[in-house]
């Protein structure tokens, strides 16, 4: 690897400070049509460019560290993170997955009900699908909730076994309505009920009998009452939202109740309601204390739902869900036949699980590991000439060529999803790295950009991309922030195989990449991964993504508190090299454990 520092290109902004993750250009924007269907946007948005204009560079680094360098002067930081809370919604609606998990755990079902499959499918409105503060309950969704509540309530109330499972008495014996409502209600609303709430629900219970008199069910007033109360509770805003009602200010913060803390922690780590131990900790007031939160954070993180959460986070960051659009000609590439996409997804899952939980490492290992996890098919995809010893279906560790392979960027799923047939898509690969792993806000391209020149012998994939993006209006982004990342991966084709020739010419994997203020000369995927793993930017981005996912909201770097949070968390990621510890640190900050009062001007 060659390191060289060059002058900052004129007209380009790459600032740290209020806009440090925003990429802007003075010379216009261009992103070829080649990226048009993969979520990177296609339309011109002049405002996004002009927003960034005129911003200065590292003078905005309000924390005094050399954060824009590649790592050599990156000051170690081991926490704790000190940060105030940012404004956030106090009605965070459960997303469909959380609704399913919560129903299962509340009703103690052996498995998910599956009823959310008929809910109105919701598009992601934020960086992650955990951002429940933007989710709404419109007419169709409300009807879906009502339908599901009526089905679940009937199934539970009319099945003695299901009914026994939700009784407070461990023997499953029926208790007085008030006792049932107090116990079950505290789990449904995820906090103890007020006396007025209990009274209202008891009244509902008591008037249920006559409302079921013509039903095709045995005459059972107790079951009638249970069914009606369950129907109501499952439609209650206190069930459908994580309601944060505390409002008493302490300075510029509002302290959350023990139960609100339990909810934040539980949904962040397990996408479901608090378990019995967490409720008990809330009852005992253990969660107001950082150590108490950390103890339960570690416990839940190491549970099966915690592991699933870590997988889900990386799936969303790496856009693993896009793997399902991978379409390779099965006649040319028989390994991409039935079941291939699932195997590609399992490779990422097994690798992430190993790095985070077995090796207890973090981003650096995710980017630079010279191994992956494979079954027989995946091993053959890496090297079709190998006589794989991998099991046919089970995944196990597979050592890879360390010159060609380095972590998630060189895994088969990323390479094949960002390709067209066997041809790598340099632009898509570059945009994905810039956007998802470096949090560079790549502006959308203008309308109707020309097509890539056709492939032909003697003209490499790289050359045609360079030709298309040579126009100064395009080169601002492409030459500096997009293409170089893709160029470094040109030695790995669209089906993940290593290659040295591209349409008859040698593959050129050299690239100049700008990270912070320095231009770094690299050659190939190993260099790219090493530079990223050492860079402050990648660690800040990883930390920002984690904070956004766990806090269930966008992290707004225009806000001083969010910038401070991300700044420290990025340094922490770089220093401690442990995703698990990073998560626990993020969940024990004041930013997570308290909330900001609503601004006066925003109250209605």
């Amino acid at each position: 690897m060659i390191l060289a520092i060059s002058e900052r290109p004129r007209g380009r902004i790459f600032s740290f400070g209020p806009n440090w993750l925003r990429l802007g250009l003075a010379s216009g924007l261009c992103l070829p049509w080649a990226a048009c269907s993969n979520g990177e946007g296609e339309s011109a948005d002049e405002s996004s460019a002009s927003d960034s204009l005129g911003q200065s560079g590292d003078e905005n680094n309000s924390h005094g560290d050399s954060m824009d360098t590649l790592g050599s002067s990156f000051e170690p930081f081991e926490g704790p993170i000190v940060s105030d809370p940012a404004p956030s919604s106090r009605f965070i609606r459960l997303n469909h997955r959380q609704w399913e998990n919560t129903v299962r755990d509340l009703l103690r079902l052996p498995e998910l009900s599956g009823l959310s499959s008929s809910f109105v499918a919701e598009p992601s409105t934020g960086r992650f699908d955990t951002h429940g503060g933007t989710l709404t309950v419109s007419g169709p969704q409300w009807l879906s909730y009502r339908k599901a509540a009526e089905i679940l309530a009937k199934q539970t109330a009319r099945d003695p076994q299901a009914l026994a499972a939700i009784m407070p008495d461990s023997s499953g014996g029926q208790v007085e309505p008030r006792a049932f409502i107090e116990d079950f209600g505290a789990r449904a609303y995820r906090r103890p009920l007020s006396s007025s709430e209990v009274t209202a629900l008891v009244e509902l219970f008591e008037k249920a009998g006559p409302l079921f008199e013509s039903e095709d069910t045995p005459d059972d007033d107790y079951a009638d009452g249970i069914e009606l109360v369950l129907t109501a509770m499952l439609q209650s805003p206190h069930f459908l939202y994580r309601v944060e009602a505390q409002s008493e200010r302490k300075g510029e913060r509002i302290e959350l109740s023990d139960y609100e803390l339990a909810n934040r922690l539980s949904y962040a780590l397990t996408h479901s309601m608090p378990d019995a131990k967490l409720f008990a900790a809330a009852d005992a007031g253990e969660l107001k204390d950082r150590a108490g939160m950390a103890k339960h954070a570690r416990r839940l993180l190491n549970s099966r739902p915690g592991q699933a959460m870590v997988k889900d986070f990386h799936d969303q960051v790496l856009h693993v869900r896009e793997f399902e659009t991978i379409a390779k000609d099965p006649e040319k590439f028989p390994l991409f036949g039935e079941g291939a996409i699932a195997d590609l997804e399992r490779e990422v899952a097994a690798f992430v699980d190993h790095v985070v939980f077995d090796a207890e490492l973090g981003l650096r290992e995710l980017l630079t590991a010279d191994y992956s996890f494979a079954n027989q098919r995946i091993a053959q995809m890496y090297d079709s000439s190998s006589t794989s010893t991998q099991a046919k279906s089970e995944f196990s560790k597979l050592m890879l060529d360390s010159e060609q392979r380095s972590g998630v960027l060189t895994q088969l799923g990323f390479l094949t999803a960002n390709a067209e047939g066997v041809e790598p898509n340099i632009i898509l690969r570059g945009v994905k790295i810039a956007d998802h792993l470096l949090c560079l806000e790549v502006p959308p391209p203008p309308d109707a950009v020309p097509e890539l020149p056709p492939l032909s012998d003697g003209v490499t994939n790289r050359q045609r991309v360079e030709e298309l993006t040579a126009d100064p209006a395009c080169a601002g982004c492409h030459a500096t922030f997009i293409n170089p990342f893709g160029f470094a991966l040109e030695g790995l084709d669209g089906v993940g195989q290593s290659r040295t020739l591209d349409h008859g010419s040698p593959v050129d994997t050299r690239a100049s990449i700008l990270l912070g203020d320095e231009t770094v000369e690299i050659d190939g995927p190993r260099d790219l991964a090493e530079v990223m793993a050492a860079s402050s930017r990648a660690h800040h981005c990883y930390a920002l993504n984690w904070a956004s996912y766990l806090y269930a909201r966008e992290i707004d770097l225009e806000l001083e508190v969010d910038e401070a949070l991300t700044h420290q968390a990025g340094r922490l990621s770089w220093t401690i090299e442990s995703t698990r510890n990073l998560i626990v640190e993020l969940l024990t900050t004041d930013a997570f454990m308290t909330r900001a009062p609503e601004a006066k001007g925003d109250l209605r």
Binding site: G39, S43, D45, V120, P140, G421, I427, E451, R604
Partner: protein
Amino acid sequence: MSRYNAPRISRRMVLRGVGTVAVGLPMLDIFARQSPAYARAEASKVYSAFMLQQNGAIQGHGREPDMFWPRKFGAIDPEAMRGSDADRTTSELVDYAADLNFIRRLDFRYSNNHDGGPVAAGAAAPVRGSGTKQLPVSGSADDVIARAMTPGIEPLNVYAGRKGTFRDDAYAFREDGSLRIADNNPWNVFERLMGLDGLDPKQAELIQKRRLSVNDLVRDEMRELLGRADLSAEDRRRLDLHFTSIRELETDTDAVVGPKLDEAALKAIDGEHTENGNMEAVVRLQLELIAFAFASDRVRTATLQVGGCNDHTRYTIDGKEQPPFHYISHRIMSDGGSGDAIPNAIELHHQIDRIHARYFKHLLDRLSAYTLPDGRTLLDASVNLWCNSVSDGPPHSGKDVPHVLAGNAGGFLKTGQHIEAKGYNSSLLSTIISASGVRKANGDLVDDFGDPDSKGLVDAIIT
């Protein structure tokens, strides 16, 4: 507060007793039916449906042939559609030649391509945000019509196809530009439309009472939350939307004169509605539901988004399942700019355009099959738009986006014309909004929908 209104009829929520239970009920079907106001309301009801196709059309852009429009402008000639223009997509609609308007040369102004084109098609407004997150700064045409003509009743927004890909819903928006998420399961839509229809009356009444009891409790909880003085504007908006979404019952459908919904078919597709092979069936069922919702006067306006914003449906043509529609629209086996060529991509795209034309015809067939109390068909009393989120295959421009209109909106529109409108699509959407009965505060036709920088109507199609 809306800038627009319905000057002829005032709408509001009223109460009606059902058995011993008083419940909140949308106004639409509960006018005193003998009153002069009701008669005027009946005569002036206009329904509007908006159907959005994706991925452009083969309409003569660049080096590609025009396989979409009739060869001649002017009066639409059914004989030509059956003869010399039978090779054009629009010939699929020949049965309705006299009811159609083919409108050319309308552009999207503020957003385009797969992520912004659907937004422009629905709202024609400036956008905030970028890429797949971009939203309009104001509502879509259906929202304007619903708020003005049936306050308190949301438009019916439906969708066909799988979700969870590049960008899903992007066609229907509330007044503040927030997204209305459309239901892609026809069975869900059916259940919402039908409510308790078909049940034993005694049983229906008991269910109704139980729902009322539950809703009373839930509403009290929500009122308490909404009563807090320390809510942010955004949290209050979301809770308000939830609160106003709560309903007890729906109206009966006995008075509908025309085809009943195929409950068995709707039930059969429940759970299979996102399967690729069911796409055409789902579109047809959703269109039937829209027509039925109009016929039973549940809503006055509806949207159907066909497919995600880069529709990947694999249509079966000539007995063979073809590559994803988006690949075909790129003419190569990829979402991007390079990949193996699809040799007959233009013909396949044309055939998919024809499938969409047949979808639209299915809507017109259904609208024609319903008779209103005054003897007109629903098609006579409606205005229906089939448009696209992009103009063409490569390069997916926002210029000259195809727009096909059907229905004369109770005589408001001149039909049977093939015209060049030249301008932005906001002018056509303003025309549809006006045709639906919406007026500006001073009583003038709405000519300023969406676009703050230009005003106008498509005068050539207004009587």
